[in-house]
Amino acid sequence: MTPGTLSTILKNGAIWGFIVLELIFFTVAGQFLSLSENAFMDADNMLLLFKQSAPIGIIAMGMTIVMINGNIDLSVGATYALSAVVLLDAMTWPVFGGLGDWVIPVACLLALLTGVVLGAINGLIVWKTGVDAFIVTLGAMLGYRGLVFMYNGEQPTSHLNWTLVDFAEMQVLGLHTATWVLLIVTVAMWFLMNRTVHGRNAYAIGNNREAAVNAGIRVGPHMLINFMIIGFLAALSAVVFYAETGSVNPNDGELYELWVITAVVLGGTKLTGGAGSIVSTFGGVLAIQLLRKGLAHIGADTSTVNLVIGLILIAVLLLDRQLNVKGKEELKI
């Protein structure tokens, strides 16, 4: 084994090791602490876990590519809410009155288009003005949320379409629609980042922007595309979730950006860009959902869950720093 291999394995496999640990812990602890009859690793419970991971998970895939690219998107929660509003409201628009159930694909397309456009706005501003993505999307987060409130005031926007609900609750090969979407998105994003020129260039830009520019890579368009993808995925996440519930509060999706970033960082993607992996993000998403479900299973309340997740995130980053120390030659700053 060459030096560094161990730390590489640790870094890449850490999230899966963590998931296994969680499973063991909650199974054992559940025996003593849980009030429910069922075991934690019950098949139905695990299927539900995948389904519940979907809303955050789908967005996290987009966040991973944006962060690998060296940017960040804080506006995903607001984009999610606005797309949901468009989805549900469009189904009641008189224009589409004659379409019958064909309104569903139309409304979905409109919702997805909303996400892409909002993402494109972020991307264009970051590209053309050169303002840091953090600031741009912080503004967008507030602005897009404002649009949600302008749309329907404090009122929830509701419309239940039973055909859509049936579709959302459908189980193919035992997996829910939401789970399938998450899996497909994961595979698609993995493919994009590992197999296409765009994906590899995105890595190069995040890793060493100057080198990328020197090599003639046009940085702006790549960033724009990635912002459009994350916008699309935020909208897709909304479509999948609200197809089933049929009602969106103007506050929905708040703090989603932080949960998403937590999952991505837990999966090992660097905040500074250039390194990260879609598969590890998938692990990060599962790990968080497991933690939430598991702690609930053994009777902890929401505030405890948040505290634990926060502590684990900091512990993970600390560990990562330890594994990446350059040694004695490093400049102490």
Partner: protein, 503 residues
């Protein structure tokens, strides 16, 4: 040879940056199948010229003629498409990506739908790596390679296209001798295929070993081209240094006091090894060497920014361990850093606050900052150092380079240090202010400070130093006194040529 059509010709290139005329009417032609050396001191404009050629910068005047066709280089990729490949001095690599991806960065081979053609990428890359005889393959992560191997990856980029001209900017700076041989073979190979090669290097031995012609730049101006066989190191050195060749070296010596700082066998990993020297109060010790020779790192280690891996530091005869800049300052060591703007000053802060920054903790009137004593300190050093500013409220960023440097120096003088380390004191400062800073350094020594000056400019080192330490890739080659030093011996020492006489 002159009957051939040049593959590449530059005509009257002018490039200005705010405040600097980096290139002033430079003309140059590179013939097919020749290795054309471009020489000049640091800051003479070599890299800028090559960046203009590579499409990174656009020239303000003049034109680039490629195979008798005037062209405009709109960017690095455009230059590459036109057959001009640029091998960068600083590694321009993405560490998280594989060797193959880095070599073909920006132009990965594609299949349908924008997919990367990995099979093609790896075969092509491995073919190139075979020619370079390196010990890693296309899939290796670049971040896992040594600096020398990373440099080989950079060099491999020259072989990806059918180049008409290849520009090497200090390619051997981090290569070992064995790898240099391979590089020279690659260059000979390219040369035999009729490729024109521009080769930038400070190392005379390489220049005389592989090049056909030598062009010299000085202060952004073209000094002429000579055939390598018709000249020698002295001739080239004279062209490079020019009028500055007979610049006076320091004659006056002040009363030398006791040993203020002594360093014995100091090492920090591979950055520098086994460095020993002493500087006494009243003396200016110059450090001269190429960029990357380890001079700045020594200063950073003495100032507590790096942890030495071996060796000891003695202050007034007493061994000390310095763990942080705060330690160093408390012991009377000050460092005027290399990059004035990003390391030496808080540009947005006013002059007074910049000057009192290290001692602000002690300047208190009750719980508040004692503004009066701050202003008193500022006034004292403004007069002493002749800092020209409209008032203490002026933001440091608005001052000229010379005055900024004086603020940094004043900041440390107000701490009453015993040892003052000055790294590249006149980088980016105009000629008039340079002389002022030099006189200031001499004055400080006269007042009993022990001063260490690190500089990449030979005239500067010669002018201010009582003794000169010549460094080459992390080692002290030789220590000269100002009486015995000559330009030639100094250049040879920093090029690693006179190992026999190492001090």
């Amino acid at each position: 040879m002159s009957a051939q059509t040049p593959v590449l010709r530059l005509e009257g290139i002018v490039k200005t940056f705010p405040g600097v005329r980096a290139l002033d009417g430079v003309s140059l032609s590179i013939l097919p199948g020749e290795v054309h050396a471009l020489m000049g001191e640091n800051g003479a404009g070599k890299s800028t010229l090559m960046k203009v050629l590579g499409g990174v910068h656009q020239p303000d005047e003049g034109r680039i003629v490629l195979a008798e066709q005037p062209v405009v280089m709109s960017g690095p990729l455009d230059a590459k498409a036109k057959g001009i490949v640029f091998i960068h001095q600083e590694l321009s690599l993405a560490g998280e990506l594989s060797v193959a991806e880095n070599i073909y960065l920006g132009e990965l081979p594609r299949k349908r739908f924008g997919l990367v053609d990995w099979a093609e990428l790896y075969t092509r890359t491995n073919r190139i790596l075979e020619r370079l005889k390196v010990g890693f393959d296309a899939r290796t992560r670049v971040g896992d390679l040594s600096i020398a191997n990373q440099q080989m990856v950079e060099i491999a980029r020259a072989l990806t296209v059918d180049a008409k001209a290849v520009i090497f900017d200090e390619p051997t700076a981090s290569l070992t001798d064995a790898e240099k041989v391979v590089l020279f073979e690659v260059i000979a190979d390219l040369k035999s295929q009729g490729v024109g090669i521009a080769y930038i290097s400070h190392r005379m031995e390489e220049i005389f070993r592989i090049t056909d012609r030598i062009s010299v730049l000085r202060d952004g101006q073209y000094q002429g081209t000579v055939d390598t066989v018709e000249t020698d190191e002295e001739g080239v050195t004279q062209m490079m240094i020019g009028r500055k060749l007979d610049l006076s070296r320091n004659e006056s010596h002040h009363e030398i006091g006791d040993g203020a700082l002594e360093v014995r066998g100091l090492s920090c990993g591979h950055l520098f090894e086994d460095v020993s020297f002493a500087v006494r109060s009243g003396e200016v010790l110059g450090f001269y060497g190429l960029v990357g020779a380890g001079r700045t790192e020594i200063a950073e280690t003495i100032f507590g920014l790096r942890e030495p891996s071996a060796g000891t530091i003695h202050l007034n005869g007493e061994e000390v361990r310095i763990h942080s800049p705060a330690d160093a300052i408390a012991r009377g060591i000050s460092l005027v850093p290399e990059d004035r703007k990003s390391q030496g000053l808080v540009l947005g802060m006013n002059c007074r606050d910049n000057m009192t920054l290290p001692q602000i903790d002690d300047l208190k009137a009750g719980p508040f900052v004692a503004e009066g004593s701050e202003i008193a300190i500022f006034d004292q050093y403004r007069d002493k150092l002749d800092i020209r500013t409209p008032g203490w409220k002026q933001a440091a960023g608005n001052l000229s380079g010379g005055n900024q440097q004086k603020i940094v120096i004043g900041k440390w003088l107000s701490m009453h240090p015993r040892v003052l380390i000055v790294d590249e004191p006149t980088r980016g400062i105009d000629v008039g202010s340079k002389a002022e800073i030099h006189n200031l350094i001499r004055d400080l020594a006269a007042q009993g400070y022990a001063v260490i000056v690190i500089s990449s400019e030979m005239p500067e080192v010669l002018h201010v130093s009582d003794r000169i330490v010549a460094m080459y890739s992390g080692r002290v080659m030789r220590t000269f006194t100002s009486e015995e030093v000559t330009e030639d011996t100094l250049i040879q020492a920093i090029s690693g040529l006179d190992t026999g006489q190492a001090a």
